[in-house]
Each structure stands twice: as C-alpha cells, then as structure tokens.
Symmetry: C2
Subunit: 196 residues, 2 copies
DNA sequence: CTTAAAAAGCAACACGAGTTGCGATTGGAG
DNA sequence: CTCCAATCGCAACTCGTGTTGCTTTTTAAG
C-alpha cells in the first residue's frame, strides 16, 4: 500500500475525495452506500475506486483503520469498577453515530466477504486486547487473582453493544453502558473469570 | 398467506421443496445462497420463488419461523444459577450449526432489508421474553427482589453469543455458555439489575 | 366431467455491479 | 525541460439478480 509521497498529488487527492465521500454517504444510511455512488460523490470514476480498493469493503476498511489509528485512552483510576464503567462509556461513544454505521456495514458484509471479516476481526481483536489492560491493572493491584481471564471478561462487557447495534435496534444509552460494566465488575469480583 | 388446503397439492409441494432446498444450501456456507440456486436445487422456476416469497430473506424468514414454532423448554430447577446455566446451554445449541447460519444470514441482511430486520427482531424479542421467566421465577421464590429488570439481564446473558456468531468467529462451546450464565448470575445477585 | 381462478413454467427483458482495454494525464527522475 | 511509469478517465462489455407478459398446468367448485 504505497502512501503517496506528495500530500497534494492527484493520487492523494483522489484517495481523500473518495474517503470523505464515503464518510458522507455513510452518515445518511448505508443502504444507499455503493461504489458507484461514492465515486460519483467524489467526482471520480468508479474504475479508480475498484482498482485501488477492489471492493466497497476495502473503502470501508480504510475508513475503519483511521479510527484504529486513533489512540484510545484506557481508563486507569485505581478502581476496577470505575475503570470498567469508563471503558464502557468510551465503547458507547465509539459505537454510536458514524463509527457505529461503519462497524455495522463491515460486520454485516463479513460473512460474504473474507476481507471484511479480517478487517472487523483484526480491529476488535486489537481493541479488546488493549482493553484487557484494565483487568490486568486490577490484577497488579491485587484486586483480582493472578490468572484472571481478562480476554473473557472484556468479551462479556463488550458483547451487549454488538447485540444492540447489529440485532436489536435499540438506543445504546449511558445507562445501558453502565449496566454492562456493572455486570462485568460483579462477575469479576464473584470469581467467574478466575483461573480454574 | 393462504396455506394450501391439500397437503399433497402442487403449491404445498413447491413450498416444501424450496424450503428444504434452502435448508440444504444453507448447510454448506450461505455465501452460496441465492434465490436462483435454491430454485434450481428445488427443481422449481425462480419466478415461483420470487412471487411467493419476494426475497431471499422471505425464504429465510419462513425457515426461521419453523424454529420459532418449536417449543423451547424454559429451565425451572428452583435455582437461578442452574436455570441460567441450562438456559445458556440451550441458547448455545440454538445458535450453533444450521440455526446459527440462518440467524447470521438474516441478521447480516437486516440493515439492508426492512423485512429481514423485522423478522430477526421479532424472533429474538419473543425468545428473550420467554427467557425472562427464569428471572421472574427467581423473583417469585424471593431469590431476587421485586422489580428486578429481567429483560436487561436476559440481554446480558444472550449478548456474548451474538458477538461470537456475528463478529468474532470463535467457537461457541459449553464453557463459553457457562461463563456467560455465571457472569449474569453474579450480576443479578450483586444487584446490578435491581430496581433503582 | 366441465370450468374458472390460482399458481407455476418459460422466455425475454431491465438494471446495476464489477471488469477490461485503451488513450489521456499526471508526477517524479534525470 | 523531457520522458517514462503510474494512475486515472472513458466507454464498452459481461454477468447475475430480479421483473414482466404470456402460456400452461393444477386445483377445487359446480
């Protein structure tokens, strides 16, 4: 993936135009989202899009990787419950609005598109891995036993968001996020994720 | 939806042939699943499928409603933890293999297809509602306080399955199901779903 | 057994996604 | 400034999904 050397070059311009156009179209429902429409909105020929990105999913993947490069702050307040609550609230923000649409678009085309599946899995594998730090910190503080399954815990706290986003179409509000966090905290303290 | 009066009539035969063909194709990856293929496998003209079901999603909806009509036993052992664990194990079976493929297919076309969205939501709204009985029984036994949010609790126990099915592509084994149940039980006993 | 309505088959068509070949533009090296 | 390679635009084409008009078959009532 050769990133263009000159920021003002045509290639760079085309690339930026396509991505911002895609971003814009994604805002008003992605059922409308198609390669041809994006190209048109970007003032670019569809062949250029197909040649550079292969797929609609390729374009979406590039959009997602912009989010991936954003540094997400991992809460570290010194208390597991507080950390998980803040984490859940951050996840909420990251899955509402535009990024939510993007995730939905990619996740729903994942089963039909190998690359889309890789992109989504890779993205969340990384995010989940980072989030495990919250649990690891609690272990380091002695709040949780050594060998606690951080990955499993993070899976439990994250899952409800996907359910609401992809299946049930109900709003993901702060109360919902707090409840997911509280449930996970309770489970961790009850020893559900202790080493066996 | 006029259900044919004669079980051996042609309409009934066509309907059955299409549904079993769809079921068969669904087994070996639903990326291959298309109306034309189903019609061919059923020995039926594709127009018949389009006229009767409108959509591929319509066919899948009919398949799903067969599952919906199956009576699922709601565990009632007298202990919340045990009930939730058995519930989770039942959910596991219901989301692995063929029904899992079916749910995936419908859920991933939901954002692009209004009917698919309704079908999926309706199906799970009903399932979730039934599952709430487990929590309600615990309330009746005095194991949980009056006003405990059964719906929210069921959402938490169910969510991890969707995450694995639709996003992460890891196996949904019994240990996973038991952990989801244990986490929810712990959260319920810790008062996470108590009335505020 | 006759008959009219309903549903299925068949073939042709419309439509949009994605592909390909070729000429035109652009960007950077010499 | 010149030139080569990369990339883009353009237009034509393929291919599969879904639609439509019409004919044939089936079904159930009289």
């Amino acid at each position: 993936m050769p990133v263009s050397q000159r920021p003002g070059g045509r290639s760079t311009r085309v690339r930026a135009a396509v991505l911002t156009a895609a971003r814009g179209l994604l805002a008003d429902g992605y059922a409308e989202l198609t390669v041809e429409r994006i190209a048109q909105a970007a003032g670019v020929n569809k062949t250029s899009v197909y040649r550079r990105w292969t797929d609609l999913e390729g374009v979406l993947g590039d959009l997602l990787s912009e989010y991936a490069s954003e540094v997400v702050p991992i809460p570290d307040t010194g208390d597991l419950g507080t950390d998980l609550e803040e984490l859940a609230l951050l996840v909420r923000v990251g899955m509402t609005g535009e990024p939510g649409e993007l995730i939905t678009a990619l996740a729903t085309s994942a089963p039909r598109n190998r690359r889309a599946a890789q992109i989504v899995r890779g993205f969340f594998a990384e995010r989940f891995r980072l989030a495990e730090a919250v649990v690891d910190h609690a272990i380091a503080r002695g709040e949780l036993p050594q060998g606690t399954d951080a990955g499993a815990a993070i899976e439990i706290i994250g899952a409800p968001f996907f359910l609401r986003l992809l299946v049930v179409n109900e709003p993901i509000d702060e109360e919902f996020a707090r409840r997911a966090a509280a449930a996970t905290t309770a489970a961790l303290h009850a020893g559900v994720f202790d080493p066996k």
